[in-house]
C-alpha cells in the first residue's frame, strides 16, 4: 500500500476535525476524496503529507512517517487553491522546485510540461489565470516524480472548463507514471470521470470507501450512488 491510516484522528482544541479514519490506498490508485466543506478533507490530507501531527492513530506513507516520505521527495502536494508566489515568474517557480527538491527534481520534465501547457516562462504567477496557476502548482508537484500525489481542492476556484482541463491533465499524468493520487473535492461531479476509488468524508468521519466500479458504471450512476449513500444530496450536489 502507498498509504495507510489506522484510527487516525485530529482534534483542534475541543473540536474533533477527524475521527477514527482508517484508509488504505494501493499503488496507482486515483482516489477521489469527497465531502462537503468542513468535512475534514483538508485535515486528512494535511495529516497525510505531514503538515499536521495526528492527535490519535497512525498514518504511514510509503511504509514510513509522512514527513520522511515528503522530505524524500516521494510525495507531491498541491494545497487548496494551488498557491503560488505572485511576484515570482513561472521560471522562478521551476527554480524554486529545483532548489526545494534537489535530489528528485526533473528540470527537463518541468520545462516540457510548462511549454506544453503554454505557460510563459517570464510571466509572473500573479498574472496567470487561475487555471494556469493550478497547472503551475501541479507542475511543481509532478516534476519530482512523486509516488503519491495529493491534491487538496486545487480546482475549487476554477470555472468548469478550466476545472475539467486540470482534472483531465492530472489523471493523464498520474496514469502515465502510475502515481497514486489522492484528490479532494466537494463536487461529486469532479470525480465522475476521474477516480478509481472514492472516499466520502462527512462530519470528520469516513462514511464510504469503495472502488468507482463498485458504485456504478456511468458517471451518473456513480454520482447517484454516492449521494444515496450519504443522504445529503443538497449539500454535495
Amino acid at each position: 500500500m502507498i498509504l495507510e491510516t489506522e484510527s487516525l484522528a485530529k482534534r483542534y482544541r475541543r473540536r474533533w476535525a477527524l475521527r477514527d479514519c482508517t484508509l488504505a490506498v494501493p499503488e496507482g490508485a486515483i482516489v477521489g476524496l469527497v465531502g462537503p466543506n468542513g468535512a475534514g478533507k483538508t485535515t486528512l490530507l494535511h495529516l497525510i503529507v505531514g503538515l499536521l501531527a495526528p492527535t490519535a492513530g497512525t498514518v504511514r506513507v510509503l511504509g514510513g512517517a509522512p514527513d520522511r516520505a515528503l522530505q524524500a521527495g516521494r510525495v507531491g502536494f498541491v494545497a487548496q487553491n494551488a498557491p503560488t508566489y505572485p511576484n515570482l515568474t513561472v521560471a522562478d517557480h521551476l527554480d524554486l522546485g529545483k532548489w526545494l527538491n534537489p535530489r528528485r527534481w526533473d528540470t527537463t520534465a518541468a520545462r516540457e510540461r510548462v511549454d506544453r501547457l503554454g505557460l510563459p516562462a517570464r510571466q509572473r504567477a500573479g498574472r496567470l489565470s487561475g487555471g494556469q496557476r493550478a497547472q503551475l502548482a501541479l507542475t511543481l508537484a509532478l516534476s519530482k516524480h512523486p509516488d503519491l500525489l495529493v491534491l487538496d481542492e486545487p480546482v475549487a476556484s476554477l470555472d468548469p472548463l478550466a476545472r475539467r482541463a486540470f482534472l483531465d491533465e492530472t489523471v493523464a499524468a498520474a496514469t502515465a507514471t502510475g502515481t497514486a493520487t489522492l484528490l479532494s473535492t466537494h463536487l461529486v461531479a469532479d470525480l465522475a470521470h476521474t477516480g478509481t476509488h472514492v472516499v466520502v468524508v462527512t462530519g470528520g468521519r469516513i462514511r464510504l470507501a469503495a472502488t468507482t466500479a463498485a458504485l456504478g458504471t456511468t458517471p451518473a450512476e456513480l454520482e447517484r450512488a454516492i449521494l444515496d449513500q450519504l443522504g445529503q444530496s443538497e449539500e454535495l450536489a
Binding site: 494535511h46 503529507v49 503538515l51 499536521l52 514527513d67 515528503l70 522530505q71 524524500a72 521527495g73 510525495v75 502536494f77 494545497a79 487548496q80 487553491n81 498557491p83 503560488t84 508566489y85 505572485p86 511576484n87 515570482l88 522562478d92 527554480d95 524554486l96 522546485g97 532548489w99 526545494l100 527538491n101 534537489p102 535530489r103 528528485r104 502548482a137 511543481l140 519530482k144
Partner: protein, 340 residues
Amino acid sequence: MIRLALRQFRASAWTAVLALATVAAAVLATRPDLVDAHRACGPDLSCQAAFALDNIPVRTAFGLVVIVAPALVGAFWGAPLVAREVEAGTHHLVWAQSISRTRWLVSRLVVVGTATAAATAVLSALVTWWAVPLDEAAAAAYGTLDQRDLAPIGYALFALALGVCAGLLIRRTLPAMAVTLAGLLTARIVVTEWIRPLAATPRTHSMPLDPDTTGYGAAGNILLGVGPSTLQPTTPDIPNAWIQSVDVVDKAGKPLPNEVLHATCPTLDQGHGGPAGPVPEAVRQRMHDCVARIGETYHEVVTYQPGSRYWLFQWWELGVFVVLTAILGGYALHRLRRIP
C-alpha cells in the same frame, strides 16, 4: 535553498540599496560644510558648543534615520517573513517539499539577517562618519550611543527576529508589524533603563557644594507627582561622560534628608511668584548662605561612566541585543513546527 531566499528577497534588497544610496548622497552633500565649520572653530570651546547647538536639527534628523531603520527592518522584513506566507497559503507550497521547514526558515533568516546586519552597519557607519565634527563639538558620546557604530546593528537584528516571531504567533502581517514596533520600543526602553547601566560599575567623583552655582528644585512631573524640593548642584563638565546621578551626601554617603534641608533653609520653598525675572539679590544671598551651611556637613557626589568606556558600552549593547536575537531565533524555529 539560499538562492531561493535570495530570489524572494530581491525587491526588498533593492529598496534597501536605494535607501542607503539616498542617505549616502545626503551625507556626502552636507558633511563638507560641517567639517569646514568645525575646523573654523578651532580649539574655541564656546564656538564648538554653538556649532553643535546650531546643528541640533540636522543631527537629530540623521540620528532618527538610524533609530527608525531597525523598526522598519522589523516591520517590513521580519513580520511578513512567515506571516505573509501563511496569509497567502504559500507556506503549504514550500513546506510540502523535500527541504524541511526548519531549513527553509534558517536559510531565509541567514539571507535576511545578513542583509539586515550589512545594511544597518553601512547606515550606521555613514551617519557616524558624517557626525564626527558634531560629536566632537558636542562632547556627549553617550547621548548618541544608540545612533552610532555597533549598537544599531544589534537593534536591527533584534527587530528582525522579533518581527519573525510576531508573524509566527499572529500569522497576520499587519498586526505582526504593529506588535513588532511596540515590542522593539519596549525592549529599547527596558535595555536603556535597566540593562545598559549593568555594563560597568560607574565611577564616582566627590566635590564640595558650590554655594554660587547650587540651586534647588523638585523632581517628578505633573502626572506622577512632584517630589519635595531638593538641592540641585551643577553637573561637573566631564567631556563625553555619561552622568548617571548627582547627589548631595554626607561623609557616610547618606543623602541629604528633606527635614535637614528645610531645617537649615526654612525659606527654601517660599517663592515670590509673579513673572519670571532676575532672582532678587536678597534671595540669592539666602540661597548662598543656606548651601554654605549645608556644605559644612554634606558634599556633592557624581556617578558617571567616563568617555573611555564608550566602546565597552557599544559592545555591551550589541551583545545584549544579539543574545535576545538568538533567543527569539530559537523560539521561531521551535514555533515553526506548530503551524499547520
